[in-house]
């Protein structure tokens, strides 16, 4: 009898240990997602197709980005429109500081002016150039702004519920995380108890990094936005001269 108890206890311990290996805690899973290796400086070409009522508008943008909040750095991005023709040449520079404040400049070649923009928390919930993404969706969320709970783990896929500790534009998010690459492949955004938007992500491995290849955001209102990434240049030494008004205007 004692031997049976001992065997059962051993089996239970082994199962727990196995579970600990294959199913991490929610915070550990999100640590891996948020702290996944990132390119030091990245240049990419982005095509955005917004489809509503069966009709589409396309925007092409080249992005230069550097900096990482997780390393205490200012995150800087320069985006220049390359198409369509009526917005070609315009662009913006954003500098997200670690304290969450953002400095933004907009270049309007038709006016020959660089305009400073007033940034506020409400900007984060604005649509990103009329798409189904908000600026917050594009910029990404802060790990510490949510509490996490694992809903399921099956076939290497974690399902993690993220509940905001402060206003985040959504009631909750549900991440689907591929544990083989520690990237989310789907996010469901909830409002009023329902899925308001669903984002699906595909990646390609470039050097040491899994970089987004295609992201689709589908809204419950039947509109959708597709982002396609190409021409990646990773680990670029993007010097201080890149994130300037001068480069923005060139």
């Amino acid at each position: 009898m004692t031997r049976i108890f001992a065997a059962l206890a051993l089996a239970a311990f082994a199962a727990q240990a196995l579970a600990a290996q294959s199913a991490l805690g929610a915070d550990q899973v999100m640590d891996k997602v948020f702290n996944a290796p990132k390119s030091k400086g990245t240049v990419e070409a982005l095509t955005m197709v917004v489809t509503k009522n069966g009709q589409s508008l396309t925007r092409s943008i080249t992005n230069w980005s550097a900096g990482d909040h997780t390393r205490g750095e200012v995150e800087k991005t320069i985006s220049k429109f390359t198409a369509p023709a009526d917005v070609k040449g315009s662009g913006f520079l954003t500098m997200k500081k670690v304290d969450g404040s953002t400095e933004s400049l907009l270049w309007l070649p038709a006016l020959g002016r660089v305009r400073r923009l007033g940034s506020g928390s409400s900007d984060q919930d604005q649509s990103f150039f009329g798409s189904d993404f908000t600026n917050r969706d594009i910029n990404g969320f802060n790990q510490g702004d949510f509490t996490y709970r694992i809903l399921a783990f099956e076939g290497g896929l974690y399902t993690v519920e993220a509940t905001p500790l402060k206003s985040a534009g959504y009631e909750k998010l549900v991440y689907y995380i591929d544990s083989s690459i520690w990237r989310y492949v789907k996010i469901e955004y909830f409002r009023a108890g329902k899925v308001a938007k669903t984002q699906t992500d595909e990646y390609e491995k470039i050097g040491d990094y899994y970089m987004p290849k295609r992201i689709v955001m589908a809204s419950a209102s039947k509109s959708s936005t597709e982002l396609t990434f190409a021409d990646y240049k990773i680990d670029q030494d993007l010097g201080a001269e890149i994130f300037t008004e001068r480069f923005l205007k060139q």
Partner: protein, 404 residues
């Protein structure tokens, strides 16, 4: 016409010689009517703007950049076939990047002003005031050097040829001027600009940025040149020159300062001031009528997809009967969705019993590069005010623009 054609040919040659270049432009058709009148605001004109632009060297760190634009305007309602089509040279410049310097030459636009409804510091380019409530900058030949520092820039310009602004047509002139304004006056934009040391303009703008709150920019402007707008009332003349109506264009000196602050919370604060003296009057103790100051202070507030902008404008002229004039400008812009934008602009003039302008505007993107627009302007108020005097000029325009 001839100069524009030569410039276009030179630009084409330059681009061919430099290799990679982008070709782009737009075709726009616009029609406008005065409210309750058969008179057209702008003829049913078609405008074709074509241009080439490109970079020399590495696209991300070019050694030089160039742009050349030519406008072809066609007015099918013009009775005279020789005046139905007009070819104009637009912006056409080359910019060389040499260390921290940007050196540019050619037909350029210099925009130093930071505000949206009133531009005290934008004195380098003449303006097209055909529709005075929507003036457009006219590109002119300039030499320009910009020194780019880490958090500052110094922008210096030299303007060898003086070019007159395009004045409003008689319908938009004050009653005292409108009958005479149609008469020929001393210069015109089509005349070849003559070089004269008295007409050379020069000046600069210093801008410094600071990491205060969400960004602070401070600017200072100095410019001396011949004013592109009349600096005094016109007069009739008959003598050795052809008889006609003549305007005066004095030398002018502008000293200005500007400030932009982003404190956060979706708010942007702006203030810009300019002090102008005419002729050789003393800068600090000017003669009456020879000094003026213009200032604009305002805010922008962004919430969601809407932006509200408010500006207060002060205009002072030394020794004038009414030395101070005040205006308040409000602009509400709403991006309804990815295709539709609506805008409501209002401008209130505090003179006399007050006058104001109201302008609803809208645009709709039909497809990539294809946009339709509608604009209307309504004027109200005391006839002694500018807007009140425009009260018979309510108008609406429709436009369709295809960019390629």
């Amino acid at each position: 016409m001839k100069r524009a054609a030569i410039a276009a040919a030179l630009a084409a040659f330059l681009c061919a010689a430099l290799g990679a270049a982008d070709f782009g432009g737009y075709v726009e058709t616009r029609a406008g009517w005065y409210w309750g009148s058969s008179e057209l605001v702008s003829p049913m004109y078609q405008l074709l703007e074509g241009g080439v632009s490109g970079k020399v060297g590495d696209a991300e760190a070019p050694r030089a950049q160039y742009l050349a634009k030519v406008d072809l305007e066609y007015d099918p309602t013009a009775g005279d076939s020789t005046t139905a089509a007009t070819l104009r040279l637009g912006e056409a410049w080359i910019k060389i990047f040499e260390g921290p310097l940007d050196l540019s030459f050619g037909n350029q636009i210099v925009a130093w002003s930071i505000s949206d409804g009133y531009w005290p510091s934008d004195v380098v380019n003449p303006w097209d005031y055909s529709l005075p409530m929507d003036p457009q900058r006219i590109p002119v030949p300039l030499g320009r050097v910009v020194l780019n520092g880490a958090n500052y820039s110094i922008d210096l310009v030299a303007q060898p040829f003086w070019t007159e602004s395009i004045l409003p047509n008689p319908r938009w002139m004050p009653p005292s001027e409108s009958a005479l304004a149609a008469l020929p006056h001393d210069t015109s934009l089509d005349a070849k600009p003559d070089f004269s040391w008295d007409s050379v303009g020069y000046g600069g703008h210093l801008k410094a940025s600071f990491e205060l709150l969400q960004g602070l920019d401070l600017g200072a402007t100095y410019y001396r040149g011949k004013s592109s707008a009349p600096t005094g009332p016109g007069f009739t003349y008959s003598g050795m020159y052809p008889s006609g109506y003549y305007y005066l264009f004095d030398r002018s000196t502008l000293v200005g300062a500007d400030l932009t602050l982003s404190p956060g919370g979706g708010i942007l604060l702006k203030s810009e001031w300019g002090y102008t003296t005419l002729g050789d009057t003393d800068l600090l103790a000017p003669e009456d009528g020879k000094a003026s100051a213009q200032g604009v202070s305002g805010f922008e507030y962004t919430i969601g997809t809407a932006q509200l902008e408010g500006e207060y404008v002060l205009d002072w002229t030394k020794g004038a009967t009414e030395a101070f004039a005040h205006e308040a400008i409000g602009i509400l812009t709403w991006s309804i969705d990815d295709r539709t934008e609506a805008k409501l602009a209002a401008d209130y003039e505090f003179s006399g019993k007050g006058g104001f302008m109201l302008s609803p505007q809208g645009s709709y993107t039909i497809a990539d590069g294809l946009k339709a627009g509608v604009e209307a302007y309504f004027f109200f108020g005391d006839k002694a005010t500018i807007f009140g005097s425009y009260s018979g000029n309510d108008l609406a325009t429709l436009s369709l623009k295809y960019s390629f």
